[in-house]
Amino acid sequence: MIEVEVRLGAALRERLNMAGDAGPLRVELAPGATLPDLYAALGIEPAQVALCTVNNRYPPDGYVLQPGDRLRLVSPVAGG
């Protein structure tokens, strides 16, 4: 198994009924896991994610998650 660190944006936490910001989640996944695997493990629909960064970079298509990766997931929001 590999472990990655995931920080969910406020709107995403709200949609998942996670109260407050308890800090990053640590998620265990099978080696070779990709972003869709992570979303499934978290119970997130891909359409709920507007923006994803891995280690403060946009991941390429088909990116295979690595142990210790730090992810930020943010859902669609409005403002400006």
């Binding site: 944006g9 406020a10 910001d21 507007a50 923006l51 960064t53 403060n56 409005a78 403002g79 400006g80």
Partner: protein
């Protein structure tokens, strides 16, 4: 009065300030159908009545206030007004908008638009009460804040009167000043300085008329569908809860949050400025503009005072771009801007620019009236803002914006973050390439509302790719032109599509717009007309550019680290999509295609 049952008042009021004269002309029906209202019709009025090359701060510049066909109806966010004039900043056409039902009051008085020319002999207030038009001395109001002025004039002319006014910043001629109504401001591009140059402190409108939609049953159904679309939008729901700054987290994660005058795209104290933190620590109440179900505005209470806002753009301008994470300092800066009538985006941006001038040794505290503008120093930020507000010392130069200021410090133009003189909003162009194109080509200068391709930051496209960005921008620009011509709030677009807008506009006006896509074509027509206005004023492709920091200085951090904007290919494609030539001038075929040739009656600038 053929337009009276099509949701228009059907009349345009023309006022010359000295010698004072007022007369009324009918609104042309073909103009109303082809350009809808608000931005579209006001741009046409400006094109026809403005002498080419007029000094923006002289008597020939027209200052136009107006409304749209949905103004005065229950359409969501219709309590707004539009403003069009020549900008002292860009020296091209300026359109600007604000919440506040001044447009409604003007329409109830019988006028879709008022076109103001001349400069009054003394500080004055224009009063429009149905057919009674007068120019009154501003008296003690000259020099007073916008809230004091508005309260006083409402006490004089009645609660149903609506007021637009300038504050001291507009009076002294700051190019960062705007026109205020109900603590909302038509902020961008220096309209406050235009009004100040006319010695016009305020305009009061009060009327006893109403608005008659063309198809009441169809309009009621359109209204139901529009409200449902807004209600069902989870994005709008969050904006209502956490304000416009609920977007700040996403922009920071994307590395597009301008920090320390755009030297960075991420702010280490961004967490402090997320919407949830504002809700928990500062805001105590939601408020809405007249007729708005979104209620994105917030009230902060402190020491018994109720203070407005701030919104996301203001949190960027007085916060991140100055390296400041102190929420109450941002609240205070926002309050000052409302009271003196300043554009928060430009005012904060110019302060960030001064902080970088200091960082790089272009200026010392001695050049800044003794103020040491260190990054993150909120006291210094507020002190510099006070200088701008009062037009005092260094504030006199800062109050003209970053482009004018950079002329005094050769080399600094590379990091004067403006386009056509207008300071950039809260999205780093290097981290969102479509935003870079939008800033470069928008008629009024660096603008995020004339086609905010924020979709690229919301999962709709790769923000770092330039592929398809001209087409994405073109579509958003068209939608924005329609929304601005209907004079609704841009934020409706987070729930309503052009279809919902079409379902309101067709029964309101009875215009034969066969399908929602017809509105997209209408929006492109309006953008092309605005382009003609700028061409006539001497703006060219050379003005459609970005500062060196965006074009050649790789971003230092975040997901966009190392990125710059490769602008010229996007501009080539955008011009082609719009039917303009390589110089950015609309072709004769393009004008015929948009039916502008007939509308301009041969007055086409070539």
């Amino acid at each position: 009065m053929a337009l009276a049952n099509r949701s228009y008042a059907g009349q345009v009021l023309f006022v010359h300030l000295d010698p004072f004269e007022a007369h009324v002309e009918p609104l042309r029906e073909d103009v109303a159908e082809l350009l809808l209202g608000g931005r579209g019709i006001a741009t046409w009025l400006w094109y026809h009545h403005q002498p080419p090359g007029a000094d923006p701060l002289g008597p020939d510049n027209r200052l136009i206030f107006g409304s749209g066909p949905l103004t005065g109806t229950p359409a969501p966010t219709s309590g707004r007004f539009a403003l069009v004039t020549k900008s002292p900043v860009s020296r091209g056409i300026l359109d600007s908008y604000s919440g506040g039902p001044f447009g409604q009051a003007l329409k109830f008085a019988g006028y879709d638009f008022v076109v103001i020319s001349g400069c009054a002999a003394q500080p004055s207030i224009l009063v429009i009460r149905d057919g009674d038009i007068s120019l009154e001395p501003a008296g003690e109001y000259w020099g007073q804040s916008t809230s004091h002025t508005e309260r006083g004039l409402k006490a004089t002319y009645g609660a149903h009167a609506e007021v637009v006014s300038i504050g001291p910043a507009g009076e002294w001629g700051s190019w960062l000043s705007g026109v205020v109504s109900r603590e909302r401001i038509a902020a961008r591009g220096g309209s406050g300085a235009v009004m100040g140059s006319k010695r016009l402190k305020a305009v009061v409108a009060a009327g006893t008329g109403g608005v008659q939609v063309h198809d009441p049953e169809g309009f009621a159904e359109g209204l139901r569908l529009a409200l449902r679309a807004l209600r069902m939008s989870s994005q709008i729901d969050r904006m209502g809860k956490h304000g416009t700054t609920n977007i700040l987290e996403l922009i920071d994660v994307a590395g597009a949050l301008p920090t320390r005058n755009f030297q960075q795209g991420q702010f280490e104290e961004a967490d402090k400025l997320f919407g949830e933190r504002w809700r928990a620590e500062v805001w105590s109440q939601d408020v809405a503009c007249w007729g708005c179900p979104i209620h994105c505005s917030k009230i902060a209470k402190r020491d018994g005072y109720m203070l407005d806002g701030p919104d996301y753009e203001t949190i960027y301008s007085f916060g991140t771009t100055c390296g400041i994470g102190d929420k109450w300092a941002i609240v205070e800066a926002n309050f000052i801007c409302d009271e003196v009538g300043l554009d928060t985006i430009s005012a904060g941006n110019v302060i960030g620019f001064v902080m970088e001038l200091y960082q790089r040794g272009y200026v010392t505290a001695a050049d800044l009236d003794g103020i040491v503008p260190a990054w993150g120093d909120s006291a210094a930020m507020l002190a510099l803002l006070g200088k701008i507000a009062r037009g005092e010392g260094i504030g006199r130069l800062m109050g003209l914006g970053t482009r004018e200021m950079s002329k005094h410090y050769p080399g600094s133009e590379a990091f004067a973050m403006q386009v056509k003189g207008l300071e950039m909003p809260a999205y780093h162009p290097n981290a969102a390439k479509g935003v870079g194109l939008a800033y470069a080509v928008s008629e009024r200068g660096a603008c995020h509302l004339h086609g905010a391709p924020l979709v690229e930051l919301l999962g709709g496209a790769n923000p770092l790719s330039q592929e398809n960005k001209p087409e994405i921008f073109r579509i958003h620009q068209s939608e924005a032109a329609v929304i601005d011509s209907a004079v609704l709030c841009f934020f409706t677009s987070y729930g309503m599509t052009l279809k919902e807008l079409w379902q309101l506009l067709v029964p309101a006006t009875g215009w034969d717009y066969p399908e929602p896509r017809a509105l997209e074509h209408l929006g492109q027509r309006i953008s092309t007309l605005a382009r003609l206005c700028n061409n006539r004023e001497g703006l060219t492709r050379a003005d459609d550019t970005l500062p060196k920091r965006a074009l050649a200085e790789p971003l230092a951090d975040g997901p966009a680290q190392g990125h710059v904007v490769n602008l010229e290919p996007m501009i080539d494609e955008y011009y082609r999509l719009m039917g303009w030539d390589a110089r950015g001038e609309p072709t004769a075929d393009c004008l015929r295609g948009y039916q502008l040739d007939g509308l301009l009656n041969g007055h086409i600038a070539r």
